[in-house]
């Protein structure tokens, strides 16, 4: 029972294999990115500390291009990882090729729209209120 006989397999070089690898490679990058983000924002700073002037807080943070790049990496890697994870979970219950095609395209557009919404704000920055 202590040993598993490993069976060498040669997975085809298709989209699903790339997605499988992507989930694992992105995990290594997401550990420092996401943990850094939540430890800083949720624990060290905390949502109450930014409450007096939330827009000012974001504007100050995004005044640094370093933080904007950090947030862009979070947006790019974390959300793609999440949507592909959702796709994997959904494929446990969606088996028909046509339904999977609809699922894949639906989630692709969902990913695209939300990513673009985030990217617009990240590039444009905080809107000055009159």
């Amino acid at each position: 029972m202590n040993q598993t006989n490993s069976l060498p397999v040669n997975p085809p070089a298709n989209y699903e294999t790339s997605a499988w690898k992507w989930m694992r490679y992105s995990a290594f990058l997401l550990i420092p990115l996401v943990w850094g983000h939540i430890i800083l924002q949720d624990v060290v700073v905390g949502v109450h500390a930014i409450g007096n002037d939330p827009l000012g807080y974001v504007a100050q943070r995004w005044a640094s291009y370093g933080w904007r790049i950090y947030d862009a990496l979070l947006l790019g890697f974390a959300f793609a990882h999440g949507v592909n994870g959702l796709r994997q979970v959904a494929q446990d219950v969606i088996h028909k090729p046509v339904a999977r095609k609809i699922l894949n395209w639906g989630l692709f557009f969902f990913w695209l729209v939300i990513t673009l919404v985030g990217a617009v704000a990240l590039i444009a920055g905080v809107r000055q209120m009159p």
Partner: protein
């Protein structure tokens, strides 16, 4: 929809012990984190799209209910991260570790590491809620 029922019954009744629990918790935490991530991208985009609404959202996030949700979210992020590292490391570098004894021991270790990371953070966040929402500890 029978496929959904079959899958859910399988999730609930398969007696895989630690390996199965890790699988279920990984998915639950991943889906929970993904749900909040989607909301969070949109709420952050409000700083440009509707700045006044952004202030409302941050006020909502400061409520006790959302504070408790945030503490659960942090657990999800830590567990999903530690367990994800375990999966990625085994799959990519140590496939021979996918045996029942190693899966059980490594799952228990994963949970311990997650709790070590989470408990101090949770205590600190709970303290913040008590200070700001209940006026305790000199708030």
């Amino acid at each position: 929809m029978s496929s959904l029922k079959t899958t859910m019954t399988g999730y609930a009744t398969y007696r895989g012990r630690e390996g199965q629990w890790a699988f279920l918790l990984h998915r639950l935490c991943g889906l929970g984190t993904g749900l909040f991530l989607t909301v969070h991208i949109v709420d952050t985009a409000l700083v440009y799209l509707a700045p006044k609404l952004y202030i409302e959202v941050i006020n909502l996030y400061q409520t006790t209910l959302f504070g408790i949700g945030e503490i659960f979210l942090i657990f999800c992020v830590f567990f999903h991260g530690v367990n994800g590292l375990r999966i990625a490391a085994f799959d990519l570098f140590r496939p021979q570790n996918w045996s029942i004894p190693v899966a059980r021991a490594s799952t228990r270790l994963t949970l311990i590491i997650s709790l070590v990371l989470w408990v101090p953070a949770a205590v600190w966040m709970a303290r913040n809620i008590l200070i700001h929402n209940f006026g305790l500890f000199g708030g």
